[in-house]
Each structure stands twice: as C-alpha cells, then as structure tokens.
C-alpha cells in the first residue's frame, strides 16, 4: 500500500476529463486518485503559508508555478476551505471605484476567466452579471460616477434605468411605492459567481501536484524570530524552520500578528449568510442593494444565496446576531415579494477582518520574511486568484507587484488610504 502511495505521489496527476469520468463510472467512482496528499510537515521549508483557504492555497500554487518555489508548505488549523472560503456568497466582480482597487480586482477577474482550464478543475465560474441597485438620489449619483470610473479603467460597466433593471431581472419590485424604490442600477456583465469549495480544492490539487505540502489540522502557536527576521513557526505538529512566512489567516490575522509582536489595523467581525430551500431557476443574475443591504443570487442547486451584514462588535465566535438577518430579509422581501413564502434552510457566520479603509493589505512587514495578506473584510472571495498571484510575487521577490503596491501596511502611516467604503456594493 505504501509503495502504491509513493508511486502515485511521484507521478503526474491524471487529468480530469470526460473520459476519466466515464472510466471511473465503471468502478462506481470509488477509485479516483486523491486530489492532494496528507503529509506530515518536514523540518524546514523555503516558505510556509499560514492559512489553507482559497487565498493561501492560491498563493502556494503561484509560488510553485510562477516563482519555482516548490519546497513550501501550507499549514491550516482546520481543513482546507473550511473558513471564509466555504462561507461566502461566492460573488465575483471588479467594479470598484478607485484605480488601485479596479486594478486589483480586475486582475483577479481576468484570472477567473481562464481558471477552470488552467487548474483542470471546474470552479463553475459563471459570468451571469452583477447588478447594483440605486435606491435614492445619492445612490444614483454614486453609481453613475462609479460606472464612469470603471469605464476609464477598462472595466465593463453600464448604467440602467428602472425599466432596464426590471427587464434584466423581472422579479424585482420596481414599484415607486415601496419604502426604498429602485431608481436605477449598474450592471457588470463579466461579473458573476463561482463554486467556492472548488476554488480551494482546485488550487490545492494544483499546488500538491507541484510538490507543495498541504498540512491540515496544524495550528500555528507561535512565530519564532531571529532579531528582525523570521526563523520559523511553532505549530501543533512541532516546530517548522523557515525564513519566509506568508500569513493569510483572514479573521485570525491579528492573532497571528500578535505572536510576532505586530499590531494590525484590523477588527474581526461576524458576517452572516443564509440559503433557502432549493427551488427552480428564478433569478439568473446577482443583485446587490447597498442602501437597503440585501443581496441575492441563486446557486446551481437552486438555493437562494443571501448575504447579510456584519455585526458591529469584534467577535471570533462565527455566530452573528439574529436582528442582522432579520433586517436583510425585510429588505429582500420588499424588493422580491415573490420570495415571501420561501423557507430558509441554513444560516451561518464567518469572521471577517476589516480594515479602516475597507481595502485589503498585501504587504511586507517591519519583520524581514514576514508577509501579511489580510483585511479583505467582507469581499475577499472575488479576489482569490489575483490575491494569491500578487502575494506570491510579494513573497518571492520581497517586493510588492505594482498592482498591490498601494495595498501596503504603511498606508495607515502615510495616509494614502484606498477608501472603498463608498464603492462597496453593500455597506458593511
């Protein structure tokens, strides 16, 4: 059995295809090879990524693929993709206001467009469009401004009036008599959704194939420093020596930073989402409303996927408050009266790390060899491929890529913030 395992591990993974699907159907799909190994940590790596979510696995994938760093590991305290990667509402878009953000998120969107082919793993990327609604005069002005800004940055964006909104998504209540009537909206057609678990699994499989060790159930307990540089990490599976540590720990970023004696400008808060019972296709796009805080799409299984807002207090409990969900559902029902008798199946929370300017940090730190990719707050999933690519570049070269240069930690000292609060599709 062990010899068999070694042979498998040292050979290229078999390509997923229609033929492998048919072949495996004859053995009742019981003989698929493992998508990734389950290794014990080595004593030393060239780099260790802390956090096995989509961003962390993507970072490892691009470190191996583009920067030829193959003696690396991803350590994950739970199971891969079990944190915010598996908890988000899977929305992907790049219609951000500021140039720096537009560059960052569109870099990701461009990778999404070819990701399934690149990974040989169907991430179910669906460019079904994302529509952002305006409910008051200021919304109309803001969204028009954003449409123009997007176009100047080469990002597809169109502004729709109320009739066009209704035509694009007929189930929306566009009556002028509701509390916050629909006055218009923007549409990014290249935007859409993807299967979030598949993104983690696809990157894990790709990274594993190139020799990356993906170590699950391995929690980081300390960061060992040698003066001003990193010497290694203490984990529940022992000490791992390494000169480069890339932390992609989302809600727990501050906890890890604290181990190295750093403070970050982050607050970790619960963000909730919920899904309904599955129904036949009723909404074939993603609709987000900032002013009333409601966003909804439909999964391929038929569930309505609804995102709620963050609670305003710091918490690591992965539980949010009921009134937040209630507020979101009130808004959903006003906008989509057709959903009034839908029943909700599941509700959950994730812990999101929010920056004061609602933009992420992909940056070096004052400690040599310690890098942070955090602060994605409520909207990190959409950036997964781009975030991994740029963080890998930053770690490999010890310099940020020009696309993530603005998203450094020092911006909180210099004052060059990338204030995306106004441009977030929903106000968290």
């Amino acid at each position: 059995m062990n010899i068999y395992k070694v042979i498998i591990q040292n050979s290229m993974k078999k390509k997923y295809s229609i033929f492998s699907l048919i072949k495996n159907a004859f053995s009742y799909h019981e003989n698929w090879e493992k998508a990734w190994k389950d290794p014990e940590p080595k004593k030393e790596y060239d780099a260790v990524i802390v956090g096995g979510g989509g961003h962390g696995l993507a970072t490892a994938y691009y470190l191996a693929k583009k920067h030829n760093m193959k003696n690396i590991a991803v350590v994950e305290k739970g199971w891969i993709g079990g944190g915010n990667t598996g908890r988000n509402t899977t929305i992907i878009r790049s219609n951000y206001l500021w140039d720096a953000s537009a560059g960052l998120y569109d870099h990701a969107l461009k990778i999404w467009e070819g990701l399934s082919q690149e990974l040989n793993y169907n991430v179910m990327f669906s460019q079904r469009g994302v529509m952002n609604l305006a409910h008051n005069l200021q919304d109309v002005r803001d969204l028009k401004r954003r449409t123009h800004a997007n176009r100047l940055n080469g990002i597809d964006a169109i502004y729709l009036n109320t009739e066009e909104v209704k035509k694009f998504c007929p189930i929306i209540n566009t009556s002028p008599n509701i509390r916050y009537p629909v006055l218009g909206g923007t549409l990014q057609k290249r935007a859409g959704t993807a299967r979030h678990d598949a993104v983690a699994w696809g990157y894990a499989r790709g990274a594993d194939e190139m020799g990356v060790d993906i170590i699950q159930n391995c929690e980081v307990k300390g960061i060992k420093r040698n003066g001003d540089s990193v010497a290694g990490i203490e984990t529940t599976k022992g000490f791992i020596k390494t000169k480069k540590v890339g932390v992609v720990a989302a809600g727990h970023s501050s906890v890890i930073a604290n181990m190295a004696g750093l403070r970050l400008p982050l607050e970790s808060k619960p963000l909730q989402a919920l899904v309904s019972e599955p129904v036949k296709p009723i909404i074939d796009t993603v609709v987000m409303s900032n002013a009333v805080h409601a966003y909804v799409s439909q999964s391929d299984k038929g569930e309505l996927v609804i995102g709620a807002g963050t609670d305003d207090y710091v918490s690591y409990s992965q539980k949010g408050s009921h009134d937040i969900v209630e507020g979101t559902l009130n808004a959903i029902l006003e906008l989509y009266p057709i959903f009034s008798r839908m029943r909700m199946l599941r509700q959950w929370g994730g812990i999101v790390d929010i920056c004061p300017d609602a933009s992420p940090i992909i940056s070096k730190t004052t400690i040599s060899g310690l890098y942070f990719n955090c602060g994605w707050g409520t909207g990190g999933f959409k950036a997964t491929p781009g975030s991994g690519d740029l963080f890998a570049h930053t770690i490999a070269n010890d310099e940020p890529h020009k696309i993530n240069a603005a998203f450094n930690l020092n911006r909180f000292v210099s004052g060059e913030l990338v204030d995306e609060h106004g441009a977030a599709a929903v106000a968290h």
């Binding site: 727990h252 501050s254 906890v255 604290n258 403070r263 970050l264 400008p265 982050l266 607050e267 970790s268 609670d311 305003d312 207090y313 710091v314 918490s315 690591y316 409990s317 539980k319 949010g320 408050s321 009921h322 009134d323 790390d353 004061p356 909180f412 000292v413 210099s414 004052g415």
Partner: protein, 91 residues
Amino acid sequence: MFLIDCPYCGEREQSEFKAGGEAHIVRPKQPTELSDDEWAEYLFMRKNIKGIQFERWIHIHGCRKWFNVARDTSNDVIKVVYKMGEKPPTI
C-alpha cells in the same frame, strides 16, 4: 446574539446597544507633537483580541449612556460591565 447588562437599565438584548470598539484608547494630550507612526497607532491599530477584550458600548435604544464591557470575543460571554472612567478589572 447575547444579552448585555446595562449598568443603568439592567439586562437587555444586544440589538438595543451599539458597539464602540476597543476601550481605554487615550486621545493624545499633545496631538501636534505626534509622529505619523504614533498617529497611525492611535487612529488605526487595534488589539483585536481573541479572548477577553475591554470595549465600549452605548445603550443607543435605551438610556443612551456609554459604559465599558469586558467580553470574551471567542464566545461572546460578558465577564464584567463597568462604568466609563473606571479602570479595567483584572480578569
């Protein structure tokens, strides 16, 4: 969701309150003499503790008074509620 024992009104639902973030961050006495690093520390850097955090809350839909809370952020259990101006308890 949890209950908060307002020192002025008694136990109420958390939704009646608004969180005011980390407590005991003292405004600099001489703002003009602060370096950029010190400003960043004061304005933006937060402990963001997983464990017992000292934080401010306001009973926004009640008495509208501010007070301090020591809460375990890993499970939202409140340990102590104490008034503004009082020193943080040792827990």
